[in-house]
Amino acid sequence: MPSSTSSSKRRRAPAPKGIVTREGALPAGLRLTASDRPGQAQPVPTRDIPKQPWGKIMIAVAATLLAGVAALEVNARTRLGLHAGDLDNSEVAWVEERARSENAPAAIVGDSRILFDTNLDRFQALTGVRPVQLAIHGTSALTLLEDVANNEHFNGLLIVGLADTMFFQPFDGYGGYVKRRNDFTTPSGRIGIEIDHMLQRRLAFLDSNYRLSVLAHRLDDDYRPGVEGPKDDIWKVQEVGEQRQTWLWDRVEYDPWIQARSRWAWKGFKEKFPFTPQLIAKGQARAKAAVDKIRARGGDVVFVRPPSAPQLRVNEEAQVPKAKGWEVLLSNTHSVGVHFDDLPASVQNLTLPEYSHLNRRCAIVFTDAYVRRLTELTPRLKLRADAPPPLSRADCVPGARVASAQ
């Protein structure tokens, strides 16, 4: 009877000696497995090491790997326009910020517009408060508003940024994962993101938008009739810094081809489903319930509508008119808000390279404008005495000298 304690009698693992003929009736070179030994104790497995100059092979593999990484990095920086320090989007990063938002004085939720169009440094320079960025691209702000409403630890100021159609859409969108955020709180996830970020601060090619398979799939030029291929997906449009500070990728601004792709991907914000009065009313009711919940425990909520280009605005307005969406939202929830229509003329007509998001410099200008307006509307934000001077459209044209925190 084989014994699981009999190993003391076993020989030391033999030195590699190449393939040997193994037990049983199988052809030479085939190992027996548990499937060949029914109803018995299985012996210690034998694992052969093929005869090869493994040392040399592994040195060659390591050298090729290093050369490959170097080539990928050079390609990423010179041809693709990627930058080191772009930390990519991740669920774990959002969950970490969400944890940080508990007991924070201010937080931001919403879709990609408020995410891209808010400069946290400028916000802090103006008010002394650095809000926690919880907005998620492609996600209804309503979903995130409700998430914060359910967070008993938050009683600060919540800034809800919205694109009207996305706010009232009948599904969560990309950020649906916030409802199962516990999946992303594992110790390995947290350690993993620290290592990821450590590498991404130094290497530009680590970008999920430029993975091998993604690039290979995007070679498909809609060859098959009737199918929207991977090329029609939304390509990279943003870069992400520390604490989820996000901005429009500069290549979207300077590369006409990428810019055209991004514009095309939005498809004019023409949604497939109708924004019926019932759908909008349902969204309004959900928003009111969430706002009331936050206020009941001492918090407050304000709304912000970042700009969109006329090419999109016309369709957004057709689906969710400002009078039925935005204005009812403010009155129903008894909230104040900043709509980009209402900002001074000096900050109108900011640059929206792909129609939906401001470029990085204009995002600073827009942040400056809406935060100043918010300080007038809510006592929870105060303009610092040493706040930098106001910015205008002139500050966001290429060549203008403006720093986010000045």
């Binding site: 304690t5 030195a15 052969d48 090491i49």
Partner: protein
């Protein structure tokens, strides 16, 4: 912690350094490995380490008392205790919600409206795997196939040894415990070949399964609207056959490589399954450690083939149905197992009916392709989340779907076909040899070139750290 994560890279580097450090005694190194294995598991959900401890302690003592017992009845009692505790934990965490849902449905069908509180239990990662591993310990001792381990540390390390802990290969105590008795330190060649296996495994998982095959599968199987055309349904199903193989065989290869780098040997879990001719052959090649476990601890105790045809077919079907349920708490998995049971039963009947027939080369290939075709039919139930979804796919595959639409772009489809074709072709080319033989017969420059390309592809693919499919089981 998953193998395809940077966290694991750092973890493994530390474990390797500690394991090969000369200033630790063998006893201390085993303690290091035990702690590392607990950390590996706790990296998902620390409280669930308690389950590992319960399983470890209960089975250790059950085996000890089994050996000391004078009466057969007492031995049996300790064996049953072990089975009840282990299967009880598995049932609670994995099947509790499933059983409750079925009870509610059953009650509703007879007019009783029962609304229980929501079953909100998180499934501990790999519970099915380590439950089977520890059960094999007490069962082997009970069946007098093995003596209990002499040292608790060796036994605890057998249960928790991180390379096999969460997704197999499901190891038997007699395979691993003896390896802990003497100092083990991998040779340079073992480390190099172990790393080669890790590269192969990660390439299968990160590049092929996650990068190229998964998007094709998801696009069709997870489509929110529309019914796929016949071509799309078939390509998606074939892609899933490749995805699940690359995912699971990739995990097994990586696990074997990791263990080899530490100087330990783990058993084969796959033997080129898509070159199987017939289903008994398939199950000798697919998830070998599970199929042999089910055979040794379920099929044979149920009677095996020693009590007449009726008992044999019943045991076969029972084993495969439970094997299906082992994969997931859903009726679709039961049907998957049932289909395999039916295939095995039919094959058994045909073998008896045509006992004198020896297939020629063409027939072998034809039967092999038929086997692969039928395996793909079962994968539909494995992948579809509902019977409605499975029915939709099968109708599309049969070409009888109403108003089907194209779903897959041309290039992703071609990539999937080339990859799956490559997998099946490789399996046929390798069906009568081991990977090691093939590697040994390949020129060194080609081995190095392939490994180098795979390594660069893994880095270029980056991976999103997605979990292995079998973790959910």
């Amino acid at each position: 912690m998953i193998f395809n994560s940077l966290t694991f890279v750092v973890f493994f580097a530390i474990v390797m350094a500690l394991h090969h450090a000369r200033f630790f005694s063998w006893h201390q190194k085993k303690i290091n490995l035990l702690i590392a294995s607990y950390l590996f598991y706790a990296a998902w959900n620390p409280p669930f380490v308690v389950l590992l401890w319960i399983s470890t302690v209960v089975d250790w003592w059950a085996a000890q008392w089994m050996v000391r017992a004078k009466a057969e009845r007492t031995r049996k009692l300790w064996m049953v205790t072990s089975v009840v505790v282990n299967i009880g934990m598995l049932a609670y965490f994995k099947y509790g919600g499933f059983l409750l849902d079925n009870f509610v449905s059953l009650a509703a069908s007879v007019g009783v409206q029962y609304q229980p509180p929501k079953w909100d239990i998180v499934l501990p990662v790999g519970i099915s795997f380590y439950t089977f591993a520890t059960l094999s310990y007490t069962l082997d001792v009970y069946l007098r196939r093995a003596k209990p381990a002499a040292h608790f540390l060796d036994y605890a390390l057998f249960v928790t040894f991180f390379p096999h802990l969460v997704a197999g290969p499901i190891m038997r105590p007699t395979e691993l415990v003896p390896q802990f008795a003497e100092p083990r330190r991998a040779t340079a060649h073992q480390i190099h070949f172990g790393l080669a296996l890790i590269i192969l495994g990660l390439f299968q998982k990160v590049v092929l399964a996650d990068g190229f095959l998964s998007p094709v599968v998801e696009k069709v199987y997870d489509a929110h609207e529309g019914v796929p055309q016949m071509l799309d349904a078939w390509v998606a199903t074939l892609a899933f056959s490749g995805q699940i193989f690359c995912d699971f065989a990739g995990y097994s290869s990586t696990a074997i490589g990791v263990a080899m780098c530490l100087g330990f040997a783990m058993p084969d879990n796959f033997r080129f399954p898509y070159a199987a001719v017939g289903f008994s052959d398939f199950w000798r090649r697919w998830h070998i450690t599970l199929s042999s476990w089910l055979r040794d601890y379920l099929y044979i105790p149920l009677g095996g083939n020693r009590h007449g045809p009726a008992r044999t077919y019943t045991a076969l079907m029972g084993t495969m149905l439970l094997g299906g349920l082992w994969h997931g708490a859903a009726w679709t998995f039961v049907v998957w197992g049932g289909l395999h049971g039916t295939y095995l039963a039919v094959e058994r009947w045909l073998r008896a009916r045509f006992a004198g027939w020896t297939p020629g080369p063409a027939a072998i290939v034809g039967l092999g392709l038929l086997t692969y075709f039928l395996v793909n039919i079962t994968w539909v139930f494995f992948r579809a989340k509902t019977f409605t979804g499975a029915a939709t796919m099968l109708k599309s595959m049969a070409g009888v779907a109403v108003n089907p639409v194209p779903m897959l772009a041309l290039l992703p489809m071609l990539f999937a076909i080339v990859i799956v074709g490559g997998i099946v072709g490789t399996h046929w080319a390798m069906r009568k040899q081991t990977l090691e033989i093939a590697v040994e017969r390949t020129p060194a420059w080609l081995v190095g070139g392939i490994l180098a390309l795979m390594s660069v592809a893994i880095v270029a693919e980056q991976g999103k750290g997605s979990a292995f499919i079998y973790f959910q089981f």
